[in-house]
């Protein structure tokens, strides 16, 4: 069989007047982990629910392997899709023990007890099969939910904001554990998140969604370094936007004349990540320090350009900055050029926390 394992083509889903998913296309290779990333309300959870079969799309095709799940005249009900879903609130059955939860979707009668024990051991919950869900911590419940989906031997596993109910410290650990389990089994997985750091660090592929469409799919570094649209750039990490006038291989900006990655002409918008800028006392476009946030491993300095606009620069942790200090800023890394959006001043855009 050739082509992607999961294929979504032109998915449309409306709720009354609201178009939640507006012609989304998404392919996932067998054995890959893909993060579906986007701001809240962008339609990512709806798309996931369409794939799982919980929502009927108003248009489009969903294919898994050689099976058509949604399409003209075709609808496979959720219980026949062989797609496992891990819910944001885990949706553990409160009246069943952990073991019975895991056994719920198991196929075949033989060696049930042994398989349950194996799965629980795999997710690090060996021996806890007799507990009730409410007797477990949030992180443990999360892993029961994962074990329960895996027990049904799904061809594809979907995770809806799987780590959002865990507190920060725990989240880091559970994330890595879940990643290892999914990778060790070679399962294909799609997870939805609004946390860009989670998406970039966890998935082999990242799909960024906005306004009901998939804006870009690629490896994490690719999507971060070479965002296809302004939206993607602004959603993935901090981005400085400065106006520019391009001609051929160069672009004139308040940060100086820069090399463009590809030839361009006319008014453009230039995106520079804070870590691709540096400030020093020697040279560069003159700026004044406005404020700085110290993170320990590095710091973020906000500086004002001569035209009054502010941008952000990431600096090493050893340097000292004083508000009012006059410095020069230089671009030391790569830039991305977008067609002008009509913004005339430089500004910073950060993803919503």
């Amino acid at each position: 069989m050739s082509g992607p394992f999961l294929r979504c083509e032109g998915i449309v889903k409306r709720f009354g007047q609201v178009v939640a998913v507006d012609g989304a296309n998404l392919d996932v290779e067998r054995g890959h982990t893909l993060a579906l990333l986007g701001p809240s309300g962008c339609g990512k959870t709806t798309l996931l629910r369409v794939i799982a079969g919980f929502e009927h799309p108003d248009g489009g095709i969903v294919r898994l392997g050689d099976r058509l799940l949604n399409g003209p005249g075709a609808f496979v009900p959720p219980d026949k899709r062989r797609i496992g879903m891990v819910f944001q609130d885990y949706a553990l059955f409160p009246h069943l023990t952990v073991a019975s939860n895991v056994a719920f979707g198991m196929k075949g009668r033989g060696h049930r007890r042994k398989r349950i024990e194996e799965l629980l051991a795999l997710v690090g919950l060996g021996g806890l099969g007799g507990r009730m869900p409410h007797e477990l911590s949030g992180g443990q419940q999360q892993r029961v939910a994962l074990a329960r989906s895996l027990a049904a031997e799904p061809e594809l596993i979907l995770l809806d904001e799987p780590f959002s109910n865990l507190d920060t410290g725990l989240r880091q650990r559970v994330r890595q554990e879940v990643r290892q389990i999914i990778e060790s089994l070679g399962t294909t997985a799609v997870f939805v998140t609004h946390d860009q750091e989670e998406a970039l660090s966890l998935a082999e592929r990242v799909a960024v969604m906005a306004h009901g469409r998939i804006e870009q799919v690629g490896r994490p570094a690719e999507v971060y370094r070479r965002p296809a649209t302004r939206e993607v750039a602004a959603f993935l990490g901090d981005a400085n936007f400065v106006p520019g006038e391009a001609s051929g291989d160069t672009v004139r900006t308040p940060l100086g004349v820069l090399q463009t990655p590809a030839p361009a002409a006319g008014p453009v918008e230039v995106m520079v990540r804070p870590e691709d800028l540096s400030v020093s006392e020697q040279d560069g476009a003159p700026v004044e320090v406005v404020s700085h946030e110290y993170y320990g491993h590095d710091q973020m300095v906000t500086v004002r350009l001569s035209d009054g606009a502010t941008i952000k620069v990431r600096a090493l942790s050893g340097e000292d900055f004083i508000p009012g200090q006059r410095l020069g800023v230089r671009v030391r890394g790569s830039i991305v050029v977008f067609p002008s959006s009509g913004q005339t001043k430089a500004h910073v855009e950060s993803p919503a926390p």
Binding site: P78, I83, F93, P94, H95, F104
Partner: protein
């Protein structure tokens, strides 16, 4: 100030007045059952009764009736709950109110309407006689009692089932579907088990209502324990046997409570998930049978009793039936129930404060005792108080005070429940802030706590008032001579087949209870 000896992190200074008052309330609640136990165990009547075949038969009849009514209520309520929550049935909110309203019909009013409509020479037979129908199926006995109690208690199961079904989260069912379970399997294995606690809680109320019901079984001539107790009490000189049976009935009620709590299981159903209701199931062609089922339930449990009452009311007015006696009975009902409401709220308040503000072993024990009244059959409480007063406090015998006391024992839990809920919403910081501003305890109670819990107190008073209006056996046994209430008026008129005399008091009682039932159901509807 009594300082309970937990010094250090959490010193609890419980005002001694609060402990004192709560202990008095608890002692009063314990009095009827304690007295029954003392009286019965001293006489050897308990053993005689337990071994008598007549007792065992009455016990068996009572248990079978309670089981049959409970089973039928569940069988009606769960499908109705599903239809009104999870499908596209038209007018779901209207149906919900209609299914709740039978709660406003006391069992003896329901029984009165059944007897006069379906009994020998009743309304329906009057219509059918010209067509040659000589007699209808027997309404007296098990069938009638079962029918009446089921029709007028099923909302106790319907309302909690409906509420539970509404709170079942979509993701739980979707998880089951994603794991390969069909729609039907999902309902049976995931949805239904989550309704179980709600259904069981409702079933408990139905079973307790049936065990303690006296009105319906006596009018429909079914010899369950309450009716046997009443007959023994009114007809024999040795009242020990009635007392022994009353104690057996109490024990039966506590067995039912125990069964419910023992089957509750380890599961916990509170969900932290934001509520996400599943989409409605399209009934399609099943819409019409569904509507027919709903309509049949409303017809039997609401339309029939209301129209029978209206029928006899019109007949009575045409025949010039006196309205005067109803006014007197109505005033008596108002007076006794109003007193009960005031006393019950006054008694419940210290217990509620103790339970909410000073949690601990003592306060939870007092609270449990205070709640025990809801399991006590009215006839047992009434008999115990009759014997107690006759033997120890003759001056109380056949006084209004004793009747009000019996009402309070029975209905204190209703007042306690709503006061407790109101108090839980009063933030203790508001009291602490007032103390911090230099005010003493009594001042803070009057100016800060009491005003905030007042709505709960008036709601509790309302509940007690309405239930006391409807209470029959305690009123029959304890009311002073010549003190007729609406409830006793309906009962005695129906027993003598003066249906026109029963109609007006029945209408007043039903109308009075219907408003709060409809109001609270609608409010519950809007909340979600």
């Amino acid at each position: 100030m009594a300082t309970i000896a937990i010094r250090g992190r959490r010193a609890l200074d419980i005002p001694i007045v609060l402990i004192g008052l709560s202990l008095v309330v608890a002692a009063a609640m314990l009095l009827p059952v304690a007295y029954l136990i003392i009286r019965v165990t001293g006489s050897g009547a308990l053993w005689d009764e337990l071994t008598a075949p007549a007792t065992r038969e009455a016990l068996a009849r009572t248990v079978v009736l309670a089981a049959a009514v409970t089973a039928a209520s569940i069988a009606i309520s769960v499908p109705l709950a599903w239809l009104t929550v999870r499908t596209d049935l038209p007018l779901r909110r209207t149906w919900t109110v209609l299914f709740a309203l039978p709660l406003a019909i006391p069992s003896y009013v329901g029984a009165f309407t059944l007897v006069s409509a379906l009994g020998p020479s009743g309304i329906v037979q009057g219509w059918l006689e010209p067509m040659g129908v000589e007699r209808l199926p027997e309404i007296y006995g098990f069938f009638g009692a079962w029918l009446a109690l089921t029709l007028f208690t099923f909302p106790y199961v319907y309302l909690p089932s409906r509420a539970a079904l509404r709170s079942v989260d979509r993701s739980m069912e979707e998880a089951a579907r994603g794991l390969g379970a069909s729609r039907m399997t999902t309902f049976m294995r995931v949805t239904l088990p989550q309704l179980r606690p709600a259904v069981a809680a409702g079933a408990l109320l139905v079973a307790l209502y049936t065990l303690s019901d006296f009105g319906a079984v006596s009018l429909l001539r079914f010899d369950s324990l309450t009716r046997v107790i009443y007959v023994r009490y009114t007809s024999s000189f040795d009242r020990s046997s009635a007392a022994a049976l009353a104690l057996i009935l109490v024990a039966l009620a506590f067995v039912v409570v125990w069964i419910e709590s023992a089957t509750r299981g380890r599961a916990r159903y509170d969900t932290t998930a934001r509520h996400n209701p599943p989409p409605a199931v399209a009934l399609g062609a099943w819409r019409w049978p569904a509507i027919a089922f709903c309509a049949a339930v409303v017809l039997a449990s609401l339309a029939l009793p209301v129209s029978v009452i209206a029928y006899w009311l019109v007949r009575g007015l045409q025949a010039g039936e006196a309205v005067e006696f109803v006014r007197e009975a109505g005033m008596n009902s108002l007076y006794a129930s109003g007193m009960a409401a005031a006393v019950a709220v006054a008694a419940a308040t210290p217990v509620a404060i103790l339970a909410v503000r000073y949690p601990g072993l003592l306060s939870s024990a007092i609270e449990k005792v205070a709640y025990s009244g809801f399991a006590l059959p009215g006839i047992s409480v009434a008999l115990a108080l009759v014997f107690f007063a006759a033997n120890y406090v003759p001056s109380l015998y056949q006084t209004l005070a004793l009747l009000v006391f019996a009402y309070c024992v029975r209905f204190l839990p209703e007042a306690l429940g709503s006061i407790r809920a109101a108090l839980l919403r009063v933030h203790p910081d508001t009291e602490r802030a007032a103390h911090g501003l230099g005010r003493g305890r009594p001042y803070v109670f009057w100016r800060i706590t009491l005003p905030q819990m007042a709505p709960g107190m008036s709601a509790g008073a309302m509940l007690v008032f309405i239930t006391a209006m409807k209470e029959l056996p305690a009123t029959l046994l304890l009311s002073p001579i010549g003190f007729d209430t609406l409830a006793t008026e309906i009962w005695s008129s129906t027993r003598e087949a003066f249906y026109t005399r029963a109609a007006l008091p029945a209408l007043v009682l039903v109308a009075l209870s219907a408003f709060p039932v409809a109001f609270s159901t609608l409010r519950e509807e809007r909340r979600a």
